[in-house]
């Protein structure tokens, strides 16, 4: 390095190639190298940052419990652990759904997330309504919209009964674009 200082083009122009040409080449070469290096480095950077947009997150069939846990004519809270859960999720991996049994072996499984902006709706057995604590959304017992800002009824999960167990298709946060 130190010898370079005394060897600048202005000091000894005769012994070096024309300074402008060389500097121009170096500059372009440098920019090119930086570009290639940057592109390589960008692969993991961008990939890492936007993975959640590219990845297809799957739901899976989750066991909510025996059908006898959800007696006919009642709406009860069913709980499960998110199948996509990561070890660091703690209690936020716990999930809840409202399970309504309106006929023998016939269910409606609602997201607790309000169809407006996702606050947790609460079931009131006596008035047979779901009420949302945030902006006053209210739903009837079959999940249809009763009052307030929600643009639609409650989101419903797919369900099936296998060997007397109630399974639901869950894993993603319910939302308008991809209802459950």
């Amino acid at each position: 390095m130190s010898c370079d200082c005394s060897n600048t083009p202005s000091d000894q122009p005769a012994q070096t190639p024309p300074p402008n040409a060389r500097r121009g080449f170096m500059l372009k070469f440098g920019i090119g190298l930086m570009g290639i290096g940057g592109a390589i480095a960008s692969i993991p950077i961008i990939g890492y940052a936007i993975t959640p947009a590219l990845k297809k997150y799957k739901n899976s069939w989750i066991d909510l419990g025996g059908t006898e846990d959800f007696p006919e004519g009642e709406t009860r809270l069913g709980k499960f652990t998110n199948p996509n859960a990561a070890p660091t999720d703690g209690e936020s991996a716990e999930q809840a759904v409202w399970v309504r049994s309106y006929k023998p072996a016939q269910f409606q499984v609602f997201a607790v997330n309000c169809a407006h902006l996702g606050c947790p709706v609460k079931w009131f057995q006596q008035s047979k309504l779901f009420m949302c604590p945030c902006h006053g959304g209210v739903y009837y017992e079959d999940g249809s919209h009763a009052s307030g800002p929600p643009p639609r009824g409650l989101f419903e999960y797919k369900w099936k009964i296998v060997d007397g167990r109630l399974l639901i298709d869950a894993g993603r946060l319910p939302g308008l674009e991809q209802s459950v």
Binding site: P52, A86, A93, L129, C134, E141, S147
Partner: protein, 503 residues
């Protein structure tokens, strides 16, 4: 002895100066000239900076104890509050200083807007300032997530639901925001990265730019009517005036900044000690559906808007309004960069400001009350006022019971207690006739759900019978046609109820 020390210090300073140029760098900052009339109006920018510094210091200290993991964040906050010496007060200081910073930024921005200080040549200062406003709000929002309580969890849910409404890309954007298909550990981690690395870094950079622009362009003078900004002549005129009448920043302006900042810091310190830390409110376990999520003050107005906006226009407003606001704020000095600065000569700007401030203030206040939210435990926690039961028939008493246990009071108040979503029932019998009440209960209407399927006809009759007794003292039952007739033949009431169901 004294002389030796003095020489040593001088030598050290000289040594440092010759190698770093720090004095040459700092001196013009301290001695730059500011307008003589730059008085108390000009302290809010400095106060914003001071609170930001407090945030950086308290934030770094909090980061030494806080665990940004969804499994442990909540308990680490409780540990800081309860076990770590001064932990609770450090958290309180961080929270209240953040509120103070938002307040100072907003006042500072109001002053600049009202005095039109954004006009030539300070357009860029304004734009950088607007970006700083967004950084401040983003820091506040992400900071609220750090509490990792029920407010944070459901607040994220609201954010996710809004992003989800973006056409086509909504779902992908939501997943990027949450770091996955649901709210969990990955979500907290990325908001932590934003809150402690990205946003503070950005803010520090922007503050640097803001200050460099102050030194380049100088602080604006107090606006005077008739003193117009003309980009052709402004710079020369300003420099001329500043040379003649300006004063040095240190100490003339700085002393005022210090007095104000000191006072503010004492107040915020007192608030932190007196009010304590904010949250965490409730374990962020989504199966606890008793949550009653509320955003922090700075975002209450959005919360209100979400409740009051007509649902048909909501998505459009959510997606279109933010870019418009951003573009308007950023573009403001480009639309108007010359002419009068005095508020008295810019009535339009004053009107815009007053309307905006009133709207934001009203929305925030409405958000504090949030009358649209049902009071979820009103039906179990609030007794029916005894005066409404005295002298009632068994049927009417039964009606009072139905009202109580059908959660009517979650939305309707009686005796001043209960929900505010629906009208209070204290004198509903004076407002509505028997038939109208039956119809309202069964078919709903306005914001009320229909109870036709949820109450038996006998229950409906009892409820209506009770409500007709709720009248202003001495007032007769509602005289709207139908009421009197019903009273004279009460035995027909159940029949009418059945006939009205129609579902």
């Amino acid at each position: 002895m004294f002389r030796t020390i003095k020489n040593m210090v001088g030598g050290l300073l000289g040594w440092t100066e010759s190698r770093s140029g720090v004095i040459t760098f700092v001196q013009p900052i301290l001695t730059h000239r500011v307008p003589r009339d730059a008085k108390w109006w000009y302290v809010f920018g400095s106060a914003s900076l001071m609170f930001f510094s407090i945030q950086v210091i308290t934030g770094i200290l909090l980061a030494t104890m806080y665990v940004p993991s969804a499994a442990e964040a909540y308990s680490s906050l409780q540990y800081i509050d309860q076990q770590v010496p001064f932990g609770w007060m450090l958290r309180a200081l961080h929270a209240w200083s953040s509120n103070a910073m938002i307040l100072m930024v907003v006042i500072h921005m109001s002053q600049v807007f009202l005095h039109a200080s954004f006009k030539f040549p300070r357009e860029l200062m304004w734009m950088v300032g607007v970006l700083l406003l967004f950084c401040t709000l983003a820091l506040a929002f992400t900071g609220q997530i750090m509490r990792w309580d029920q407010d944070a969890y459901w607040g994220l849910g609201i954010g996710a639901a809004i992003v989800d409404r973006v056409p086509m890309l909504g779902n992908q954007m939501r997943n990027v925001m949450l770091g996955g298909p649901y709210i969990g550990g990955a979500t907290l981690s990325r908001f932590f990265a934003l809150h402690v690395f990205v946003l503070p870094g950005l803010t520090i950079g922007l503050i640097g730019a803001h200050m460099a622009l102050i030194l380049k362009n100088g602080i604006s003078e107090m606006p005077k009517p008739g003193m117009v900004v003309d980009p052709k002549t402004y710079v020369a005129e300003y420099e001329e005036r500043i040379k003649k009448t300006g004063v040095a920043f240190m100490p003339d302006a700085a002393q005022r900044d210090m007095v104000f900042c000191g006072l503010m810091l004492i107040i915020v310190g007192f608030l932190a000690w007196y009010l304590g830390p904010v949250g965490p409110n409730g374990i962020p376990n989504p199966t606890i559906i008793d949550a009653n999520p509320r955003p922090d003050y700075a975002f209450l107005w959005i919360f209100t808007a979400m409740a009051l906006m007509p649902p048909q226009i909501e998505t459009a407003v959510l997606l279109i309004a933010p870019p418009i606001v951003v573009l308007f704020l950023l573009g403001l000095p480009l639309i108007s960069n010359r002419g009068e600065r005095a508020p008295s000569r810019r009535p339009g700007a004053v009107v815009v400001y007053v309307l905006t401030a009133t709207a934001l203030g009203t929305l925030t206040w409405l958000g504090v009350v949030s009358a649209w939210s049902p009071v979820m435990d009103a039906w179990t926690s609030l007794p029916t006022p005894v005066k409404y039961l005295v002298g009632r028939t068994p049927l009417e008493m039964q009606g009072a019971l139905v009202i109580q246990h059908s959660q009517c009071r979650n939305c309707h108040s009686l005796g001043g207690e209960g929900g505010l979503r629906g009208p209070n029932l204290d004198n509903v019998g004076s407002r509505k006739s028997w038939d109208q009440l039956v119809r309202q209960v069964q078919q709903g209407g306005g914001n009320m759900p229909a109870y036709g399927k949820n109450l038996s006809s006998a229950e409906t009759t009892a409820v209506v019978a009770f409500m007709t007794t709720l009248r202003n003292a001495g007032a007769p039952e509602s005289t709207i046609p139908g009421a009197m007739e019903r009273q004279s033949s009460p035995d027909q009431a159940p029949k009418a109820v059945v006939g009205d169901v129609g579902q």
